[in-house]
Amino acid sequence: MNYINIAIHLALALALPPLALGVINKTKAAVAGRLGPPLLQPYFDLAKLLRKSTVISQTTSWVFLAGPAIGLVTVLLASLFVPLGGHVAPLSFEGDFVLFAYMLGLGRFFTILAALDTGSAFEGMGAAREATFSALAEPALFFGFLVLARASGAYSLTAMLGPTVLATWTAAGAALGAVVVSWFIILLAENSRIPFDDPNTHLELTMIHEVMVLDHSGPPFGMILYGASIKLFLFCALIIGLIAPLGALDPWLAWVAFVGLVLVVAVGIGLVESMMARLRMTQVPALLIASCLVAAFGAVLLVR
């Protein structure tokens, strides 16, 4: 069963993420009264990009291509730490949450460098925003880990979010609730969703992630889109791990329930995107700091 679980984990982490994007887009279209692109459109996009040729600017160096490659490698490695569906993650050890966060950090490091490599002011602007906002999001993520570690007495993602999460809820439900709120905001921020960023716009000065990847094309651009969808999927999995004690279910049922919950969270993101407007860029830090404070408040609730 152990190997089968790892195989299912890998298969889901590799195959499911674009579908979540498709569900988000379909939800937004449905709310707006449109038909919307097919559910599988993100897969079609990736297949199309893989067949296209690459255009590279004269100003760039090898870093421009290293950005997408390392960005994808790091999210793939980070996906090994996150428990899916209440099962034990393929890699689980004390302190793996630090590696999870820092692996994503390495990906961000090279994605931003690739944007700066084009020498464009526009992409530099997006790079600066990405660096700033993710710096503000990081403490919120760690305040969440802190609450989980203190509530569960464990130091690995699997032990924090995996089979034992039900016991943690009964012991420290209010604090965990604060973390859910905080992490949902972080999910939206880290994955450039509304109200932080609009993944659909291309020529608005309020963009963060989209503007950084303007000059990428062909397979490298496909890598970026695929990596971004996996990152979104991983944050969804973190939140599902928090709210749903799937470890208590039958293993097979837990996998099915997990896939269902990913789609539910995707619908939730789609609804948030449909009902909110993008924030003004000057208000984004305030929301991020607020999410950090919500998680910190959760930690305060655990004072004994």
Binding site: Y102, F109, A128, P139
Partner: protein, 661 residues
Amino acid sequence: MMNEVILIVAIVVAGVSGLPGLLTLRDDRSGERLATGLITLAGVLASVAAVSALVAESPDELGRAWHVPGGRFGVHVDALSAMFILQIAVLSVLGAWFGLEYWPQRDHPQNGRKLRVFYGTVTAGMLLLVVARNGVLFLAGWETMALSAFFLLSTEDDKPIVRSSGFFYLLAAHAGTLCLLAMFAVFEVATGTLDLDAWPAALASPLRDAIFVLALCGFGLKAGLMPLHVWLPGAHANAPSHVSALMSGVLIKMGIYGLVRLTAACDAPPLWWGETLIVAGAVSGVLGVAFAIGQHDLKRLLAYHSVENIGIIVMGLGVAVLGRSLGRPELVALGFAGAMLHVWNHGLFKGLLFLSAGSVLHATGTREIDRLGGLLRRMPLTGLAFLVGAVAICGLPPLNGLISELFVYLGLFRTATLNDPTWLAGGLAAPALALIGALAVACFVKVFGVVFLGQPRTPDVSLAHEAGPLMLVPMALLAATCVFIGVGAPLVAPVLDAAVAAWVGTAAAPLPTLGELAPLLPVSAISAVLLVAILLAGAWIVRASRATPPPELGTWDCGYASPSPRMQYTASSFADLIVDLTGWVLRPLSHVPRLDRVFPSDASFHSHVPDIVLDKMLIPAFSIIRRIMTWLHLIQHGKLHIYLLYILGIVIALLFWWRSM
């Protein structure tokens, strides 16, 4: 005994290494070659002594009577000393080789020989102080180091900015020494001796606390702990780059060594020691990196990152001290190993960063980040070295910074899950460490992106050339060590275990090893996988770029017609968001031109982030003190012979006072 003898030989060899050069002609190269050879010899000897002490520590110290009041020539190499000796040896040797090409006697006939004399003495002073077991001998090493560093960093003393930053360094160094003198005086009163190991377990609390506070001030000044860091940015920015590497990589760690040595002998310290250290470390870390982001000067920026990394080290030390107060061996092991490994790591990657910054400065003649750009294509190897250092200093996998930060994280999280009111210290410091890491990423993508990527912002920069082998090989060695510690963490762990055991002492219960406490094997396996994946990605890039035709077009940029290099995002604009957010503490200054006519004339805009502690607190405070103290001009008038008379008078008065006791 053998280790100590070898080390003393190394100290002497290092101390005299620059002297033969004084006898040579101004443009003669033999002096610098001999000096580098002697430093290398000293480094090898010192490393031999350190490694053999790590393998088998000599049972007792090398002690001789010494005709200095309170002094005793006590020298001992234990695992703690060995950790620091190795670092001193590696960085001073590599720096000396780098200096052969970076600061050749031929190009610097006025100050090349002076630089090499004091480069040797600073190394000797540091080696002496980390093995000294007596307060007076320790201070002798300390002052040798502090004064030599003053002459080193004021190498180019024909420049006013160098003189003023050197003066600030000298003031801060002596304020620190003053605290240490006071600390040793209290120590002597408390214990009746100046031997560093003679810390009695049952020391009265006020005296013990006084020693701790004085040590924190004195050693904190050297280490550059915020807000005692005022001397550091200017000093590191204006010294020759290999000297900056040595100072930032090793010299400021001597402050950490002092704290480590002093807390080593103290069993069951009060809780507030550890808490103070954790909070001071967190403040230093966050503010250090926040100030760094606002800088435009490449080396000044790196200097502020030293403040940040000292903060991380002190956080680790704080966790360890807390662990000793609470009797928690796992906190002791994780915190102390994290601090010690970060001492090493910071020496390696900051040395690497300063050397590559030196290579940039050597090639382009400027430290202004906003004047550079596009250097990765002109200096590919220097750029790669800087990139390795940048990834390492951000604590990102697969390099060494991650390992030590992981230890500190684990220590902080274990502190934060304690059922004790002190959990709050860990609970606040862990997210602070996350913030530090993320801001460091922001800062280093800014530096690397603006300096090495994009297009050259000024014409001179486009003529930059790659450094020669003497500069590249030291950088390559440092980069290789960063990779080695990142991937081979389980191999380094036994050394750290030995250091932890030496710090706690043999009397304590056996400690858990790092292998039991931290996921060393999985982390190094993942780092190795990541490294292989990055190399595969590199191979793919090489293949892809061969397959695609060479680019003919500029950046598309949403169809922008012809962007010029001047339109690129600069370091200031990149940092603007963060500087704005932290403006309430950074207090950035900007000089905005007034546009008052319909057709405004030429105008310029510039902004900078001054050091708030220096400009807003110390300098106003000092000018007030000076105004109050004007009456002292009666006896203070700048006549040297009268001052000598004062000293003689006080010595005689003291002698009479001592007789009458």
